[in-house]
Symmetry: C2
Subunit: 480 residues, 2 copies
Amino acid sequence: RLKQYIIKKLAEDWIFLVLLGFMMAIVSWCMDYASSKSLQAYRWMYESLSPNVWIQYLAWVSYPLILILFAAVFCHIVSPQAIGSGIPELKVILRGVVLKEYLTLKAFVAKVIGLTASLGSGMPLGKEGPFVHIASICSVVLSKFMSVFCGVYQQAYYYTDVLTVGCAVGVGCCFGTPLGGVLFSIEVTSSYFAVRNYWRGFFAATFSAFMFRVFAVWNKDAVTITALFRTNFRMEFPFDLQELPAFAVIGICSGFLGAFFVFMNRQVVEGIRRNQTLSSFLSRYRFIYPAAITFSIATLTFPPGFGQYMAGALMPRESISVLFDNHTWTKYTGDPLLLGRSAAFVYPNVFITLPLFFVMKFLMSVIATTMPIPCGTFMPVFVLGAAFGRLIGELMAYLFPNGILFDGIVYKIVPGGYAVIGAAALTGAVTHTVSTAVICFELTGQISHILPMLISVIMANVVAQNLQPSLYDSIIQTKR
Amino acid sequence: RLKQYIIKKLAEDWIFLVLLGFMMAIVSWCMDYASSKSLQAYRWMYESLSPNVWIQYLAWVSYPLILILFAAVFCHIVSPQAIGSGIPELKVILRGVVLKEYLTLKAFVAKVIGLTASLGSGMPLGKEGPFVHIASICSVVLSKFMSVFCGVYQQAYYYTDVLTVGCAVGVGCCFGTPLGGVLFSIEVTSSYFAVRNYWRGFFAATFSAFMFRVFAVWNKDAVTITALFRTNFRMEFPFDLQELPAFAVIGICSGFLGAFFVFMNRQVVEGIRRNQTLSSFLSRYRFIYPAAITFSIATLTFPPGFGQYMAGALMPRESISVLFDNHTWTKYTGDPLLLGRSAAFVYPNVFITLPLFFVMKFLMSVIATTMPIPCGTFMPVFVLGAAFGRLIGELMAYLFPNGILFDGIVYKIVPGGYAVIGAAALTGAVTHTVSTAVICFELTGQISHILPMLISVIMANVVAQNLQPSLYDSIIQTKR
């Protein structure tokens, strides 16, 4: 009888995990599909108005403005709990604090719709944090639902086990990175971790990521289930030991930059709050703030205007694939059309566009993530890190144009590898985690840079942890 | 003053982790170096006696016999605690049981020397388990040593934190797989895990794995720090969704095989113990047992004899690189010399040598790991899994000789990819862990098969966990 009970329980736990994984895969894929269609429409509208610059500008600015305002209004009406990232709140919940109406279906709807709109606007906003929130709601609601007709999921099992699995699934199927998802959720949410949840998280996240990628195959977005931002660096000699100082520099600088990002983010929020007139004005007309930010970011990135010096035409996901590409831009002399989207960085000059892109996106990301809409910070920081790493990589390729001599064979420097390392290091520094390296491997589908990347990420963490709290802790502090 | 104290503590923790990582990297590298030289000598001796088969046989059998007997005698005299894997004992220690004289310098010396000898004998024995023991001793001794002149490492900090880091470093620098090392040690040793140790383990294991690989570069074994068993599968289309059933079959079969391995291993130990005459005889003449096993294994693998039908000439590490190779053996018609070591499998016939290799190595590994010497089970099981996966892969390549049609392009099946998946699944089933998948990625340096591999590993775990305890728990049970 005990055995039967155990089998029943096991079977139900399985069903729960499979259902959770499947649901989140559908949600994740639908959100990606809708937001990418929205970005396509945005680009199509902008391009089809081609001869007239002023109407183009109007379209370029008004499209994100409408979407962001829609997201802000929708969240404000349906559920104000859906605003922001979600990871800080989950961290607080997992420590035992009860946040009211935070894990309800209302918040779920508001977050899914609001997040799709904000991702579809092309602003530097991310999906990861809100998606963790969405997955946690889903997991809590699902476990409640299942407890109704089998009575297994008791309250004690609730807030830790169900939520931990929810977090893992959230990160895991956001980009199809199950391993990194489980590890990231461990690092970010808990300080003591029950190993049985590791296994459950693994199961659900893998199933979820698998379904997420299978949907893409069925929809002909991808030919087979591989990584989302697949890189194609050479494998026989990915890097030389002599390049390690450069990787270490990326790590240390990323540590400082990550701490600076957290600092700036807090300054923006606290600066507005400290200024009495501004804060009372903004709380009365609460949609002025996102509108003003969206307007200025869209204006700055307008491709025929200032945007041409900072690759403004690139949407967040595009810029990642571009920054990870396999050419060496400083040495590219061929036809710009062959480069595809990368051409945005190569012309007028790599050493103008890339630093400008980095600085402008840095400020934009800092400010954009304070808007009262569902928005994550992981992806914008990832883009920033990739840009920074790429900058160092291109500098190295410029300084050593012939590459590195080893064993009689000259090996060229791969700037894309530097970009991957930079992305991992900066996200690691901002979130105070090392599992960003794992997420990076899974995103790119290449693990050849594992040792330098781990070293960079650890160095970035060492620097950042001594300067600032993690972004999530910083948000918890400001909300207190 | 508090701040100063914290800084001091941090600095010392750092120094501890770096020292630990560095020491273990040296030990690991030296052991690898010595055992590979020993294997070279073995092969050289065997080959230089070439015309005379009987003297060849004598050399082939006596060399491992001497080394294994040396290891057995040495451990018996210096420290009997050095016998066996080490992970089961550490698991017990981490649960709070005090095992006498288990973490002493004597055991360290016995284990290092004994393990080097047993690895150098070419028997199907592994390095991972004993190396975890070695690293744990090192970590405990080092922390004691450091507490002498700074007094920071208290007793409470001891058995969990220091040992957990030791485990992570042990797995991590055994094969240069820091990520997998940390995860494997979490899964195998603890049921609640302190996340701060995750970070510390990561730091030490990464540093250790890095130094381990750098030594190899300095010694010109490798051109740059990449994976130990680097694979070179095509990346643009690593596998098709239609191949997933085959991967699932590998996972499920691996689950059964893994459980069978654990069952057999226990049967051997308990069978001897149950037979009164045999066990009293063996305890009186305790070196008869390893001698008899070594003699029969060496006889069976003798290349001109039965060994030619089971690729007997291949040493454990060689067989891994061979099983992961990029050719499709069933379709190979060219010059056998071009295949290098893989020729051992291709001639006389893949479907004779490969199943025979698997069955014979399975029995040999089951029996060899019960010898009273320092020996791990991870590596032999890894080889078995690779052979099993390769078998399925070659079968698939035989059944679909033209590969898989997708989008107008015909993609060939990559049997090496199946081997990697099989290796991860079988080790996962035997140890009841999912992080073997991570170890596999780091060992091969390719992550393109991540989703099918995770699915196989999870399936293998589901099957194996319902049939048998993990190998380590099984050993704990028999020793009780």
